[in-house]
Symmetry: C2
Subunit: 253 residues, 2 copies
């Protein structure tokens, strides 16, 4: 049977080291175990500290290692499969929603969100912060934006405690036609980072969702998932049971 060569590319030094380290993590270390310090590791593998550091950074990006202040570098557990929009046509807060509300305010949305929602420049919208916890860890934080025009039946006599619940209840009275989502790479702002137990600037997967009612966007949300611990899953066949670390799987043979 015929074959054509897929590719043959020179790999940089730290990339090779990364592969070697990856194998060492599999064979010699347990999840949660603390790695030796950089000097010892560099000596063991016969590389410069800078090369080692590059390889460690790659492994952190790929979710293999975790760096925690005051602890050091540890072997990360496999990423968690987190279902994103497992059921369509469902409002936030409905039924088996994985999110819980942590705050609510009326505030002017960022310009880009205002553009999505079609609100006026300085118009305040209901802004609900929610969080998602899995296995005792915060995995995502979300801001849900609802223009007052989408929930006209809302009482004017809301207490801080009842605000978010009342907005969600009003949303559920609307006929949700559909939703769409976009996923992109971002970095955690200070507020998100605090919610996620990360440092500001940590890489996150940003999921923007639009909710459609009567042909228009009735609400929008921006959810920020920890990129180090999460694998976002889509589709109705259940979470992908990938027990490995993806980047390895991408190596062409």
């Amino acid at each position: 049977m015929g074959t054509t060569q897929l590719e043959s590319v020179q790999e940089p030094k730290y990339w090779h080291l990364k592969t070697v380290l990856n194998d060492a993590l599999d064979s010699e270390f347990e999840v949660g175990e603390i790695l030796p310090n950089e000097r010892d590791l560099a000596a063991r593998f016969g590389v410069a500290r800078a090369t080692l550091r590059q390889a460690l950074e790659q492994l952190e990006l790929e979710g293999r290692l975790q760096r925690r202040r005051g602890v050091g570098t540890t072997v990360a557990p496999p990423r968690m499969g987190v279902a994103v929009g497992p059921t369509t046509g469902t409002w936030p807060g409905a039924g088996r929603d994985a999110w819980s509300t942590v705050g609510c305010a009326e505030a002017v949305a960022p310009a880009a969100i205002g553009a999505l929602l079609g609100t006026a420049a300085e118009e305040a919208v209901h802004t609900i912060r929610r969080e998602r916890v899995m296995r005792g860890q915060p995995v995502a934080t979300e801001l849900l934006y609802v223009p007052p025009a989408s929930v006209p039946g809302l009482s004017e006599l809301l207490t801080p405690a009842s605000h978010a619940a009342a907005v969600l209840r009003e949303l559920h009275h609307l006929h949700l036609e559909g939703e769409d989502r976009a996923v992109e790479l971002g970095s955690a702002g200070a507020a998100d980072a605090k919610q996620l137990d990360r440092l500001p600037g940590a890489p996150v997967l940003v999921v923007t969702t639009r909710y459609f009612v009567a042909g228009a966007v009735a609400a929008a949300s921006v959810a920020t998932y920890r990129a180090d611990t999460c694998r976002l899953t889509f589709g109705d066949s259940g979470a992908l049971e990938v027990t490995h670390h993806q980047p390895e799987a991408r190596q062409a043979s």
Copy 2:
């Protein structure tokens, strides 16, 4: 109407600088324009080089800036919305597929892919490399893995040129029950990086797809999208028309 405070968090110095730089990019620079060098920028904003560099790295992660060797740091165009699985129940290579085949081989799949496919340890599978180009730029590269058992009707007399097309044609004869996907952060391996015109280690969004036939996984693919230029879109309401840069939109007010 009642409000509860959402949060109030101290932002680090480079984060504030990032916000200031972001505004300067909007007001003073055009897409594609080259930024002044680090020394001049640090002087202008009255910060240390290290702080500046952190802010630039954040802006690069968020897709606002591009660093290109031999060119310098330029203002990035808005990310492209790239539809991922816009239609379900469609085999790769069908109809209006955005991907084109660049190579094909019979090769042993990485262990994790073998586990997904349920193939034997050293069993070779059809491995098709495909690429996706938008606006003249490579945005994604993919390896599609098809076990021989999924395409038993395949001719034994394939030429290198006909291999990929024959595998895809056989797939299209199977009744595709459904597919699911997972999205996670990764770093580009050397082969992927070359296809994507990036340096090895560049951050990528890795999309793993399983294709189900008769209750089992008949094929799987691992697609690697450039995280700097792509925003992955899901859902049938068309691509999200977000013209801004997401991370700004995440700031709670």
